[in-house]
Amino acid sequence: MNREVDLLVTTSPQIHHPDSTAKIMWTVVICLVPAGIWGVFLFGGKALLVIISSIVSALVTEFIIAKLLKRFTVLDGSAFLTGLLVGYNMPPGVPLYIPAIASIFAIAVVKWTFGGLGANWMNPALAGRVFVFFSWTGSMTNWRVPRFLTTHVDGVTMASPLGFIKAGLYDFTGTSPGPIAFLKAGGYPLSALDQSVTNWINTSVLNPLGASLKGGYVDLFLGIVPGCIGEVSALLLLLGTVYLFIKKIITWEIPVSYLFVFGLLIWIFGGLRFNNGLFTGDVMFNFFTGGLILGVFYMATDMVTSPLTTKGKLIFGAGAGFMTFLIRVYGSFPEGVSLAIIFMNIFVPLINKYTKPVRFGVSPRGGGK
C-alpha cells in the first residue's frame, strides 16, 4: 500500500523553512553526544555497548519496515535519534537485549504502526523505555556506581539518589532538612571532586555574600551519580541545549513552563515528605536528579508529539511538570519524567484543538459575516 502524498494548495503567506528533517535530527544528535561520552566515561565500556545496541536495533528496524513500505527513511536521522535516546535512558548495566527490544518497540510499534515519522502521537524513545521498564523493572533499576565516587568498584551497583530517597522515606517518621541532608544521613557517598569544588565555591564566591553551598549539588550537576547513561550530566545536557536554542530547534515555551510548574510545586510541597512545612522543597536537587533535564529539553520538546501553538506548548509543559511532580513525590516510582511526558503526549491533539488560532477575518465567537 503506497501512501499518497497530499499536495496542499494554499494562499499566501507561504512559509518556507530551510531546515530539513535530517538536518534538525542530526543537530540534536550532535548536541546529545557530549552527555553520552560522559556517561560512557563514568560507567565504562558496557554503557557504550548499550547505546550501540539500541541505535543499531532502531536503524535495522527502521530500514526493514521502510523497505517493506517501499520508502527510504534510514538516513533522515530520526531513527538514529530515537535509538540514541533509548540508549541514554537505559541503566549502564542493563542486559543488551533490553535496549534492543525497546528500540524495536519504539520504531515498529510506536512510530510505524501509526504511519511513520510525523504520524506517531507518542514519543517513540520514551514509549520504548516505558515498555521495557514495566517488563524488566529489576534490570531497569539496577544502577552502577560511577567513577569518582568513593565506593566505586567496577560493576558494583547502588541506589540512585531518587530511588534511595523514595525507599528511605517509605516509613520515615523523623524530620530532615531536605533531600541532600537525607542522603548524607543515610551514608550516601560523594566524590572528592564534589568536596573540593564545593569548598572552592564557598570560600571564593558564596561566603563573602554570606551564603554557603552544601556538599552534593556539584556531583548532581556534573553527573557523578548513578543513573541512566545519558541523563546524569546536567551540565553537558544544558550545553547541548544552549546550541539547540541558538539554532532555534527548540523553543522556550515547553522547557520554561515545565520547569516553572515543577519547581514551584516542589518548592511548595516538596518539603512535606521530609516532615517539614510548606515552601521548604529543594528545587535545585530535583532539577538536577533523574532524567529531568534530558526529558525537558530533548524529549518533551519533540516536534511531532508536542502542541503547535505557544499557548498549547505552555499548557503541555505545565501539565508535564505537574505530572512529574505528582509521580516523583507521591507515586510509587522514584522517577516520573518519562511517564509524565507520555501522559501529556496523549493530550496533544486535544490541546491543539482548543488552542487553534482564530483565522483572520473570522470573529472569535464564530460569527464573522
Partner: protein, 194 residues
C-alpha cells in the same frame, strides 16, 4: 467486530482464563438465545429487553456458581468478569437482533457460531500474551529458560497492543479479500464484453 470485547483486556492474560471465559460465554449465549427464541412470540414488545436480561442473568448466575463450586482458582482469576457477562452487549445483541426473530434451531446455531468466534478472539490474544508474558501456553512451558518474560504483556497495555495488531491483521485480510473480489468482478466483466 469488536462488539462485546470489553472483558478482553482483563481475561486474556492467559490462555486458560480466555478459554474459560469463552466457554462461559458460549453457554450463556446458546442458553439465552434458545430461550429467547422459544418465547419470542409471547413476550410483549415493551418489556422484551427486561425479559432478555432476566434470562441472560439466570444463565450467567449458573455459570458463575458452577465455576465457584468446581474451579475456585479459575473463578478467582476471572474475578468479576464472569458476572459481568450479563452486561456484555454481544449476548443482548444476538438476543435482540437474531433470536427474537428466528426459530430455535437457527438461534442455537447462531449462538454457537458467535460464541465460538468470541472464544477464538479471546484465546488468540490470551495465548500470545501468556507466551510472551509468562513463557507458557495453557500452563505448559513453551519457551526456554533463557527467554526473559515480557511482564508488560500481562498488563492492560499488552492487551491493547495485541488486540491492535489483531485488528490490523483482520483489516489487511478484509482488504485483500475486497481487492480479489474487485479483480474477479473486472475479469468476469471483461469476459462478458469479449
Amino acid at each position: 467486530m469488536i462488539l462485546g470485547l470489553c472483558p478482553a483486556l482483563a481475561v486474556t492474560n492467559s490462555a486458560v482464563n480466555a478459554l474459560t471465559m469463552g466457554i462461559a460465554v458460549i453457554f450463556v449465549l446458546t442458553g439465552s438465545n434458545a430461550i429467547v427464541s422459544l418465547i419470542r412470540n409471547i413476550v410483549p414488545k415493551q418489556v422484551r429487553i427486561a425479559t432478555y436480561i432476566v434470562i441472560i442473568a439466570t444463565f450467567v448466575t449458573m455459570v458463575d456458581l458452577f465455576l465457584k463450586a468446581y474451579y475456585l482458582e479459575l473463578s478467582k482469576a476471572l474475578g468479576p468478569y464472569v458476572p459481568l457477562i450479563v452486561v456484555n452487549c454481544v449476548i443482548l445483541g444476538r438476543a435482540e437482533t437474531f433470536a427474537s426473530k428466528n426459530k430455535i434451531g437457527l438461534s442455537f446455531i447462531d449462538a454457537l457460531g458467535i460464541g465460538a468466534g468470541f472464544t477464538i478472539t479471546l484465546v488468540v490474544p490470551g495465548g500470545i500474551r501468556e507466551i510472551l508474558g509468562m513463557r507458557t501456553f495453557f500452563g505448559i512451558p513453551v519457551l526456554g529458560e533463557s527467554f526473559k518474560p515480557w511482564v508488560v504483556m500481562l498488563l492492560p497495555p499488552g492487551a491493547f497492543v495485541t488486540l491492535g495488531f489483531m485488528l490490523g491483521a483482520k483489516n489487511l485480510i478484509d482488504q485483500k479479500i475486497a481487492e480479489r473480489k474487485r479483480t474477479a468482478n473486472m475479469e468476469s466483466r471483461i469476459k462478458l464484453s469479449a
